[in-house]
């Protein structure tokens, strides 16, 4: 029987798939606060704990700030720690996120990406995570329930590696993914235990070795301590590839740092992250049927930005279209646009980039819209017109 043949598929929402994976990861401490659209994750985890299916402490904190604070402290105590949040919750956690990475805490957090107030809105965009992208967390975007389930195991194994010791955010689009039910191939509890044995922390809070965590560092030491995050981050792409390789041997499933579809001979390559990748893929397939040479690259590992994995797919394209589900008001590009343009500049490439902000506050984007955006760029190329640079706001009524 082929490894690639899933044994059985269980119908689960992405939230349920994540909770199930966290249970199988035999997590020790969950500290979380409810916020739409991630609430299902912590509801399921509460059920697992209260039903005795998961031996963990569920700390029902009074805010996301305290959720992340309790997570950091529990992680420093040597526990395997999980939390989940979205939107305002992530924003409220903001200052603690830096402590989590600065103190090298391998926390795994599911982020059900949601728009930020004001105006208040409960639906998907990536404004929450983009506002926290410099906090020293590894960030992974998933595109469906299966990826979310698989990435949870990989995230723990990556985070807890003593060469890494960085917190990992697993980003899933609010509602589009969090509430969408799909068939998910699961691993057995014994496979999970084999892939992810209990955490073995090298340094932890305990009287057997009375150490000081979170000391006051002045200009003579602060920079060096903070630089550790950069060094650890640089090791992530290779380590994640190793983790994925091990997971592939067990399940036959592997996702890579990017998801590439028909990029090899593409004139124009679409770049996006999250659930829109599936829509874009469908759109590219349809364009290809019409002879339009489009391709798709979805960013799966967002921090560290996997330049080495992206470049080979885009270096021969005539133009790139970067689709951002978050805005960066006043900046020359939206978040992923900034990274792509920096990458091209460093590689000595002057490929034109059209950068679109789309889908804020949960506004859907269709395959037809991707096609319309791509067709316009291709027509400009054919006509020898310059590609419109700067940031454009797709579909906004002005």
């Amino acid at each position: 029987m082929s490894l690639l043949q899933p044994k059985t598929l269980k119908p689960m929402s992405t939230s349920e798939a994540i909770a199930y994976a966290v249970k199988q990861a035999n997590v020790d401490v969950i500290a979380a606060y409810p916020i739409t659209p991630q609430t299902i994750i912590v509801e399921r985890l509460s059920e697992y704990v209260n039903n005795g299916e998961l031996d963990a402490e569920y700390v029902a904190v009074e805010s996301e700030h305290s959720a992340m604070s309790a997570c950091v402290a529990a992680s420093l105590t040597g526990a395997r720690v999980f939390t989940s949040t979205a939107s305002q919750g992530l924003a409220l956690m903001h200052e603690v996120l830096y402590v989590a990475s600065g103190l090298r805490c391998p926390i795994v957090m599911a982020i059900a990406n949601r728009a930020l107030s004001a105006p208040i809105n409960i639906h998907c965009d990536h404004s929450d995570v983009m506002g926290s992208r410099d906090a020293g967390w590894v960030h992974i975007f998933v595109e469906n329930a299966q990826q979310a389930y698989d990435r949870i195991f990989q995230a723990f194994r990556l985070a807890e590696d003593n060469d890494i010791l960085l917190p990992v955010g697993v980003n899933l689009d609010g509602f589009f993914l969090s509430h969408a039910v799909e068939g998910v191939a699961t691993i057995s509890d014994s496979e999970a235990a084999l892939f992810l044995p209990p955490r073995k922390a090298k340094y932890y809070i305990d009287s057997s070795m009375p150490m000081t965590f979170g000391a006051f560092a002045l200009p003579d030491w602060y920079f060096e301590i903070k630089y550790q995050v950069v060094e650890a981050m640089e090791k992530v792409p290779k380590k994640l590839a190793e983790v994925e390789e091990a997971y592939y041997k067990m399940t036959g499933r592997m996702y890579g740092h990017v998801g590439a579809y028909r990029t090899e001979d593409a004139d124009v390559c679409l770049i996006c992250a999250g659930s829109a990748a599936a829509t874009a893929k469908f759109s590219v397939a349809r364009m290809r049927e019409k002879g339009i040479k489009a391709g798709l690259l979805s960013i799966r590992l967002f921090r560290p930005f996997p330049v080495e994995s992206i470049l080979p797919h885009v270096k021969d394209a005539k133009a790139l279209i970067v689709m951002d589900r978050a805005m960066s008001p006043g900046a020359p590009s939206a978040p992923i646009g900034q990274d792509i343009k920096t990458m091209l500049y460093d590689a000595g490439l002057n490929i034109p980039v059209a950068n679109f902000v789309y889908g804020l506050g949960g506004r859907d984007i269709s395959a037809a819209e991707f096609e319309s955006i791509t067709t316009k760029v291709i027509e400009d190329l054919k006509a020898g017109r310059p590609i419109e640079r700067g940031v454009k706001y797709w579909g906004v009524r002005i």
Binding site: L103, R104, L165, Y203, M209, M211, T212, G214, E224, I225
Partner: protein, 90 residues
């Protein structure tokens, strides 16, 4: 930076408990406490009120100062019930 990497533990953990001993706060002192051992009863009230701590019990039960760390605040001289501790110019 190779040398620094060896010294810094993940996240800047300090693995030397009580290592402020490396830093002699005695240099801060303007006046120093001096004990009259004839008056000292060894009650240790000076010790329980010392913020550092920079007071030790001698073998005979009376006290002595650790001038490496004593900042010279003078709490001990105010609190001593037998007025055995005087503050003197350095």
């Amino acid at each position: 930076m190779a040398e620094v990497e060896k010294i810094i533990l993940p996240g800047g953990i300090i693995d030397r408990p009580g290592s402020t001993l490396d830093y002699k706060t005695g240099t801060w002192r303007v006046k120093k406490p001096v004990v009259d051992l004839n008056k000292c009863t060894g009650c240790l009230l000076c010790w329980i009120y010392c913020p550092e701590p920079a007071i030790r019990k001698r073998d005979d039960g009376k006290i002595e100062f650790d001038y490496d760390y004593c900042k010279g605040c003078g709490i001990c001289s105010v609190e001593c019930p037998t007025k055995a501790i005087k503050m003197e110019e350095e």
